[in-house]
Subunit: 208 residues, 8 copies
């Protein structure tokens, strides 16, 4: 029952943010909007913090799907940005795949809207080309839980690993001593419970 | 961990609609009836839109199970229609299997009521004969979530892929440019949130 | 413990549809969108069927709130339509109140988006002016259940009666014999379970 | 804050079973069908056990609404049975009200399908005529929880008391010593957990 | 809208623990058993801590209902203990009412199993005799949420106040300075989250 | 992706009912008690109907676990009945395994209380000895959904197939024409929605 | 049934933020932490935006309850800040009541942690002194939904009005034309769905 | 489909308790705190009862994560206790792995907070080194159910077995006769329903 455990490696991982567009976000109903927005921004901050190559893509952004969340554009002004003219599976867009391959990374961290399409299709394509795929389930959203469960089953069966942004951050960071403050700030900004712990802790230790 | 990704191909796929009968529909309690009706009609519209060969079948329709949903009959007046005299697994009916094989397709998209019987049995039979099977989980219904989860596990373990109608449409369509209006109409008719996006978009762009 | 029961009377009731706009609808998350759309259209059909004076109003429809659901415009082409320039409580708009008073009706049936504002504010205003108020809870939507429960408590405490569209239809109709086919059609178009009953029934009785 | 507590009195109470018809039962989705069937039969057994005058009524039973649950007909072969020709509110049917008044009882225990119509309408009418009304919430069913909550609010505000069959049985019985075995049998037949307690208890005490 | 606020007063309150028996506890399914056990013991500890007169009663404890939770017997060895021979409403037992009146208190805090019977019946009786009644909702349990909601509505309408053990403790204590350690111990023993806060706090302040 | 589909065969299947004891049943909280009791009895009726060899076993039935549900004893008076003196995994009891092997069947249908122990342990043992194992998920119960989900994952991963009693009945029966009335009676007795369909159907067809 | 509707008036309302402390926040489990944090900050921004006099208070902030959320301190640097030495009901603290009376306002908007204590106690006290009380239910949190529902019932019965921050903002603002941009910014910062609407709208209108 | 079933063996199993720290516990929101605390203590008692080598570890316990639950320290005063200076995956700490290997056990029972990190990382590492891994799902907690489901999928796919503490106890104990009283005490202390069964049973049998 031995299984090799290829951990996420911050020197070998890239982040794909697929179709987090203002219109499409109104379709997401399997996660509460306050939580979902927080998760997406946490993933983006994480990508920034670990300096992971990040690729943005949108589907038909001039139509009803709407523009990319402005926060993502602002966080990654220099990232490859592929506004796909029509391909639903981002992997069908040559520029998108080129941008991925240009990073030289073999571990792909994927999140998007909606899960069973914008995440699952490129995830399955990437697996078929030999990439390791890590789906960020809490930064990916879709119509309802039934749809999500179906999509998770399809991706997991094909070999994708289901993770959430907090687990990603921890697996990439490995050891708090690499940078206590940086990681703590990331958590404090995106986990209210953790922020509360820090507030109480800091107050008590400063009071000494 | 490489996995081949055989996408749904509109030239190689057929749709099986199994036992969506007026009586049996009253047994479906794992999905809200408004949503379920919409999903079934969306799948039917999708089959029509992509011109996928579609096969209808019913179980004992002159008894308490009741007649097929009239909307399905009306949408597919010329489709093979197999009113099974008694076989519970539609695959045990020779005419049904003949009709499938006559399509020459190797990818079977299956939905029905109830999931663990009318969908799972033919799905397992088709897998055993080498077909690729795509279960439309949101156009299939059953008694409750516990039953559904058991059925999904059995089908997934046997190799069926769990999908929902929206994912099917996207995987079949591949590229919006193949027909923007057609796909958008399908979505607008069956996804109220998407319809709202289009309403706002059209109003604003027409106002220009 | 005697309580007078002033029933809804189709000769004394008017319907107010408040802010069912394409943008605002994306805020509604206490009811599934398939069900909510169906409920709103059922209420509209009901108003039409009973020939109740109906008044449409919108809030800032040229901004992000978006245009009124086109289906409502189409159903009531001649209804008073008040596009409010800014008043959040529709009752603060003189034209709106004038239109209501012009109907001469004393029973107001109100639905809208979002419940705690677009419904509750005019409901409270109307109660304060002596109208009987019937809130259509299933054709009114808001951010989440916590918000809805708060709004219901506020309105109920103030004297509004909480009803759903089906109950309204039944209380207005009084007796099936007034028009069996009309009421049955309304139910068949908006209650999938009832449609199934009718399908089975008609099939069996026609087969005789 | 003193409130008079007029208890249910088995010599002053009648039971109204409104529209528990085979077709209408398929509309009930706020209670699981196994539990709902059990609750309705428990209420019927309770009425029988306490020899409460019981009145049966149906709405359009020759149409899609379907026939009364056969178990109810069998339990009360001699009860007044009013097959209403069209009145939706049973109280609008003279025979129904006459049958009630003929019992001479002032406390009405009402259950039916669907809650906001078949229960709420006669409940409100009875309250308006000075009866005490006890709604059996768990033997009354409707489309969904939102509808139920609205109906409960309307009835409670008007003075109806919301109870469940077990509470009714206990309030009517007053003291176990009036008949231990009879009450225990009622509970054992309709509360699996209570039956288990009795099974274990009887086994242990018989083993002595 | 002025309302008098008669606070719970530890010098004027008594606690009634009704039918927390080993058999009846298996009927409780509206609260998770780990949480429910904790709530009942918290209420008992609270009664002990504030030295409130406490009265225990059971229904048919030699039958399937089973013996009182041994923890309650042990905590209140000298409390009036009324094993009712048959009365379902504890208020129908003279000894029970005598014991209550003997305390001279006018505020009654009631909890029990099951809510709609063992709590609601004596609550309604007590209100009718002019007592103030505080129902401890989280130390009272019943078959399911529908039953609970009905029982709450009946009791609240009759004038009972719905509270939980934590609120009771706070309203009785008034000011932390009356005894910081005592109240904190009560909370630490029954609120894991509060215990965690204290553990972290104590560790940090002791480390200074 | 071809998978062999070895269907349940009524000539090659045996049923194991493990520890459905009155005491243990009070531990079951992942399924509502009305539904659970119905499911267990449905499975028993099914075993009887298809004349499947059935084996009963209990754990420590003279202690707090309590006696077997009397209904099961009554239904299978001649079935092997192994009251295990202490083995938790029924497969560790030689008499139990002998009784199974004496049936000569290779397909084992297992249900019990609690799922992760009384079902999972013998299921895993049977799989290890080469039997095909079908777990009846809706006639097996445990403490909560988290526990159930863990148990299902462990059994499914080991090769057990998760089914519910209705699916079992359909897979064993194969064709309605083998006995329409027998199967319909089984469904009518254990599926209220199906019973309603039959009631309406029979009334209408008898009326002809 | 006429009810006077005394609307919230920004010239007559004050905001009381009670015990939103880092430690106590870990007790809040009836609202998701991402959503709860957002709601509290939305209420604070609202108070700021409408320039409502705001009063902060804490309970034992040097103990395990922890310090006030720093964001609140920063937003209201000049607000009365009452660190209560022990009073659980903030209204028992003279400074707190003085600060309230100093505002001269008669409408009190109250939020806090935990709902049934820190909100309910001062709410009931304020009502008893003739204030109008508006509870901000979504910026108040507690242990679980059962506790919340009990607290709401107690407060509503006593005359408090249950509202959420969005409804408050709308009732205070009255008319969009008073300041479109200000209100829209408040909504955009705290309602992701509204922000999305604005993003799409602005993109489309700017593109003209 | 034969699968070997390597049961948990009390002579070959060790328990790893990872990061059950007072601060981190406030992050756990996928299990109710009363239940979670009970589960963790049940697992600890189980480890003690079966005399399984147990290893404790913490992450940054002098920071906001807080100290280990004192109950665990007290139960295992002589167990290896590794306060990790920074490694997030406990397996990256040499002392931790050394302590595990020193036990000579090949079956590792792991629980911790949070599931997807503190449990999943060492579980995957242990699997990669050939250990058998049993995750105690109900003594492991995390942010929400979505996160938990993702973590379970990742661990299960890698070969970990998902179990709960009750199943562990039963699989380790094998036969009640090995020690009836010991196991019963463990259950009585941590399963309220089981304690109730024992209370009723003992009362009845002692009464003989």
């Amino acid at each position: 029952m031995t299984t090799s455990y290829n951990r996420l490696d911050k020197d070998n991982a890239a982040v794909l943010l697929v179709d987090h567009q203002a219109g499409l976000l109104s379709l997401v109903r399997d996660i509460d909007p306050d939580r979902f927005k927080n998760n997406v921004l946490a993933l983006a901050d994480l990508a920034k913090y670990f300096e992971l190559p990040t690729i943005l893509t949108t589907s038909f952004e001039t139509g009803p799907n709407g523009p990319l969340m402005p926060e993502l554009k602002n966080l990654f002004p220099d990232a490859p940005y592929i506004a796909r003219p029509g391909q639903i599976n981002a992997w069908d867009n040559e520029d998108f795949v080129k941008a991925i391959k240009a990073t030289g990374k073999k571990q792909l961290i994927i999140a998007g809207v909606v899960t069973e399409v914008c995440v699952a299709f490129p995830a399955l394509s990437a697996l078929a080309e030999g990439f390791e795929v890590f789906v960020v389930t809490d930064a990916s959203g879709t119509f309802n839980e039934l749809t999500r469960d179906s999509a998770w089953d399809r991706m997991s069966t094909a070999g994708a690993q289901l993770m959430t942004w907090f687990g990603l951050a921890c697996e990439l960071h490995r050891d708090w001593r690499n940078d206590v403050e940086g990681l703590a700030t990331l958590f404090s900004n995106h986990i209210p419970d953790y922020r509360n712990l820090m507030t109480s802790y800091n107050t008590l230790t400063n009071a000494k």
